[in-house]
């Protein structure tokens, strides 16, 4: 098990969210969209080196901007 950021994940890789470093407002927003500690997600893709990341959470596809994506750390096999 190692900890990496959403960006570093490979396409189709699964991971479990282990850390979110965000302020209260963003934290709440993450939470309401289903991004929270312990949740399993699958990476779909990312655009360019400083672009957004698309992930699958449950049945929804969410896109996170570069900076937001960097705030989420996941644990992968």
């Amino acid at each position: 098990m190692k900890k990496i950021s959403l960006r570093q994940m490979k396409e189709k890789q699964k991971g479990i969210i282990c850390d979110i470093s965000a302020g209260q407002a963003l934290h709440n927003k993450f939470m309401s969209m289903g991004i929270y500690h312990g949740r399993e997600i699958t990476k779909i893709s990312s655009i360019g080196l400083k672009g957004p990341v698309a992930i699958k959470v449950g049945r929804s596809v969410l896109v996170l901007g570069h900076g937001v994506a960097n705030k989420v750390t996941v644990e992968v096999e």
Binding site: M31, I44, I47, P52, S60, V63, G65, V68
Partner: protein, 575 residues
């Protein structure tokens, strides 16, 4: 006694469609988060009683993250709880995420009834939900609905009186999600299916390389289709009506009134070479309706038809993701591409749609870029009208110059505007096959909106120009601006009249340019200047309403500077 019904739910779960079903009020709905930025109101007859129905903008939680969410949430607490019912509209294909808001509503002690919407699509996706079981668990009525076809809506209304507050402890975020996990286990069953073509396409359109290819293809085809439909509507329907049916009538009226009379000037305008010229005569019965119905309306129809398709398929949020990198350099994030695209139809809804952007800075940048760098349909029809008879190079040239202006101005604004631009965190909807009825309603509403907004202005504009021309009042005006217009832009001084008129309504401006016999270069520069200036007086008004006087003045100054610089540079650069 229920006096008000609120519709609340996550973005893009079909609230607006339910709203239309309940009230008969037609509203615009699309397949992406944030179509509804305003609070919509309508009424519904329940037995003998008239009840107000309020459709709130979509929200993921009761802790608002944007201005439109904040407005939605605050309204819920304004009325006594025994006088309202809250219909929580839930996307059946994605119950888990939607339940978060549902639980918050229950915890807040609001009288809730749940509508499991899009139940037909859920079946399609292999999701089956047990509504009865969910009702037992959460303790409020749960009804399966499919708003697009209307099924379940009647039952929803029959049971609306059962919406009552339930006792539920306030949970922490984590507990809520644990609770949701447990509920989902009991009520949802998934049938495993193989990847469908739709899912393969969905994935391909958010990957860098395949996504860019798909996006370019879609945009290219869309542009071609808009042109094809627009041109055909003009040449096959509008022009024949005007030239074969309407013109003979007007000719008779013209000879009846006598060419020299004031009323002839007012209604018919000037005869060009002894004949009525719909583009140049500038009469209330000639140029005004021709501009409106034969030049602009056909493109309005074709543009909104294609845009509606793209919206309902669910393509736009994917485009937003692909554009995120570029837009970051302009101080915006990817989702700003949606207001920009709407702006290509009409800047007014484009500026309204900036409400989805979270920070004020982003809204200012987006609204300024839309009003300066994005030509609306009316304006584009004019560009084609002015430059279309020369090579296509000139028409594409205008778009190219605008793109450069747009990018340079965006980069400058990003470095100078105060405030912060938040990042992008948005949900991407599945691709859906658009419902013809929804498409049709939306097209109808948008065309109606355009006609109501534009027609009186065009009429007024033509009237104004007509009267000013008759009394030769423009000469004073052209004298003042002659140095700028002649010296910097290389245009005849009379062109200023058209440029200023353009601020009122772009389509009126063109009729005034044609008699000036401009060279191609002059036409090109004028077209660019007309594009850079705000498209019409309605844009000024909506900019003021949305962002206030200070920002409007700022944007207007920016517009003047950009116009001066671009016009002078083009004049120097082109031989």
């Amino acid at each position: 006694m229920i006096k008000k019904i609120f519709l609340i739910g996550n973005p893009n779960v079909g609230k607006s469609v339910v709203f239309s079903r309940l009230t008969g009020v037609r509203v615009i709905s699309s397949n992406y988060a944030g179509t509804t930025v305003e609070i919509m109101r309508g009424t519904l007859k329940l037995g003998e009683q008239e009840i107000e129905v309020v459709d709130l903008p979509g929200t993921y939680s009761l802790e608002p993250a944007s201005k439109s969410e904040e407005v939605a949430v605050s309204l819920l607490y304004e009325y006594p709880k025994d006088e309202i019912a809250v219909i929580n509209i839930v996307d059946s294909t994605n119950l888990e995420r939607n339940l978060y808001l549902t639980l918050q509503l229950l915890e807040a002690g609001l009288p809730v009834i749940v509508s499991l919407n899009m139940c037909d699509e859920a079946k399609h996706h292999g999701v089956s939900l047990d509504a009865d079981k969910l009702e037992k668990i959460i303790g409020v009525p749960v009804i399966s609905t499919c708003a697009i076809t209307g099924s379940g809506i009647k039952l929803l209304l029959e049971r609306i009186h059962e919406a009552k507050p339930v006792l539920r402890d306030k949970f922490s975020h984590r507990q809520r999600w644990q609770d949701i996990g447990a509920i989902i286990e009991q009520v949802q069953q998934l049938t495993h299916r193989h990847h469908t073509l739709r899912e393969i396409l969905e994935d391909a359109s958010v990957r860098p390389f395949s996504g860019a290819l798909i996006a370019m293809g879609v945009l290219f085809v869309s542009f071609q289709v808009v042109r094809f439909i627009g041109e055909n509507l003009i040449s096959r329907i509008a022009d024949p009506i005007f030239f074969n049916l309407y013109q003979p009538l007007l000719a008779r009226l013209s000879s009846l009134l006598g060419e020299e009379s004031f009323i002839h000037h007012l209604l018919i305008g000037d005869l060009i070479n002894g004949r009525i010229d719909f583009k140049q005569s500038l009469g209330l019965l000639t140029t005004a309706p021709y501009i409106e119905f034969a030049m602009v309306l056909p493109y309005i129809i074709s543009f909104y038809f294609v845009l509606g398709l793209l919206e309902d398929i669910g393509f736009l949020p994917r485009l937003a993701m692909l554009m995120d990198n570029l837009l970051h350099h302009l101080g915006l994030h990817g989702f700003a591409i949606i207001p920009v695209l709407l702006g290509f139809g009409c800047n007014v809804p484009g500026i309204l749609a900036t409400r989805n952007l979270e920070s004020r800075r982003e809204r200012f940048i987006a609204a300024t870029l839309i009003s300066i760098g994005v030509p609306c349909v009316a304006l584009q029809a004019m560009i084609f009208g002015l430059l279309g008879r020369f090579s296509g190079f000139y028409v594409s040239g205008v778009y190219l110059v605008l793109l450069v202006v747009w990018l340079v101005l965006g980069i400058i604004l990003n470095h100078t505007a105060k405030g912060y631009s938040p990042e992008f965190l948005v949900e991407i909807p599945p691709y859906r096959i658009p419902s013809p009825a929804t498409l049709w309603h939306k097209l109808f509403l948008r065309i109606k909106g355009f006609l109501i907004e534009a027609a009186p202005l065009v009429l007024l504009g033509v009237l104004l120009v007509n009267v000013l021309l008759y009394f030769k009042l423009f000469d004073f005006f052209t004298g003042i601006f002659a140095p700028v217009v002649k010296g910097l832009f290389g245009l005849p001084k009379e062109a200023i009249v058209s440029l200023v008129m353009g601020l009122f309504r772009k389509d009126v401006a063109v009729g005034m340019l044609l008699p000036l016999a401009l060279t191609v270069k002059q036409l090109f520069i004028t077209a660019v200047l007309l594009s850079i200036s705000f498209p019409c007086v309605a844009t000024f008004i909506v900019f003021f309403k949305e962002l206030g006087l200070k920002d409007l003045i700022k944007a207007t100054l920016i517009m003047l500077i950009v116009g001066l610089v671009t016009g002078s540079l083009l004049n120097l650069a082109i031989r």
